[in-house]
Symmetry: C2
């Protein structure tokens, strides 16, 4: 049965390949996880591929087999964080709560994610406007997730106007951009361990966004 | 009277030098003004020193006598805009108005200045976080003006808490950073001639910042 034997051989080869591919992916994911820790500790500019190699208990040459450079590690980290943030926003959208409560939850999620993912998300936000002019698969993925995120925020704002918790006299898009401005601008000033902790910042920003700084 | 004659000669030379220097400065200012117009028309990336030379009715070589490159033009433009914005903020601070009204006036001034000074201020804001890590005279000037601007916003917020127009339960620094975030983040999305004009954006942002997006 030469044909059947050929199939078996090809299946075994395919299974071996699949195993190898899965091992490759797993090792790559480990390296990227370690890269995130190295960036957090040394800053993105201060980190080297050597530091990352040391972190995974390997040498630089082996690490290069899995990732091209630290920029590629950062890209993967940012993609993962945005994916998680998007899933979080989707959960907020589906919560049993009114629009105002969902906005507060979203602000808290974003500030907390930026803190947990310091400095990666800030290195990313620093380059964000340049990104919007880039091509390439990664930039496309990022922009698609960003647009989806914006759409969710708009949906929440519209639902809040419908349930009576949010004002109807403000353009939804400008309210969404005000939210992104306040929260994303933290990349210019936020430092973990600084004067204001993430929970306090989130509470203050929610209060400002929802109720304003004016005395009632 | 050899001494007196020597003084007269030196005075004449000094006056000639002063005239030359004043002419040089004036010509340089004209070129930078034209550079601003060229950037507005072609964008910063699209503009060349040739375009600037054509705009002043001269050739590239003569223009290089006055400015090193287009980056230097941009730096001068941004310094002038920030100086004007700072003077504007100081005028707002001294207005006969309560803190809430001053905050609205400030937001309007900033949005309107960013629109009038498109795209220079946005090219600058895109590089702002990098700037804060730079040395050099220009970066020092810019950071000093930025700090002064922040101090004025804080003064206005504190005065508003004192006159009863602003809430006292929000940290002044976080309110100031929320304002800068909303207004400065426009660099990621604002386009002159877009869906929302600067006056509408300023009104919406003042309303959000002062009264919030929640229904009362």
């Amino acid at each position: 049965m030469p044909d059947a034997s050929g199939i078996a051989r090809r299946r075994t080869a395919a299974q071996l390949n699949a195993t190898r591919e899965s091992q490759y992916r797993q090792r790559r994911a480990e390296i990227i996880q370690v890269a995130a820790e190295v960036f957090r500790e040394k800053g993105f500019d201060g980190a080297t591929m050597n530091d990352i190699a040391k972190g995974v208990g390997s040498d630089r040459a082996s690490v290069y087999y899995y990732v091209k450079n630290k920029e590629e590690c950062l890209e993967e980290i940012v993609r993962d964080v945005l994916r998680a943030n998007l899933a979080g926003a989707q959960r907020v959208l589906l919560q049993e709560a009114n629009g105002a409560e969902k906005i507060a939850a979203l602000v808290e999620d974003m500030i907390s994610s930026y803190d947990r993912n310091f400095p990666h998300m800030y290195v990313f936000l620093e380059d964000f406007p340049r990104l919007t002019r880039q091509r390439g698969r990664w930039a496309q993925d990022i922009m698609a997730m960003t647009r989806r995120f914006e759409a969710i925020v708009s949906e929440i704002l519209v639902s809040g106007q419908a349930d009576g918790s949010l004002r109807e006299d403000l353009p939804v898009r400008l309210s969404a951009l005000a939210l992104f401005g306040m929260v994303n601008w933290t990349y210019c000033w936020y430092q973990p361990g600084g004067r204001y902790d993430p929970a306090l910042i989130a509470r203050a920003f929610s209060a400002i966004l929802l109720d304003g700084v004016a005395h009632r």
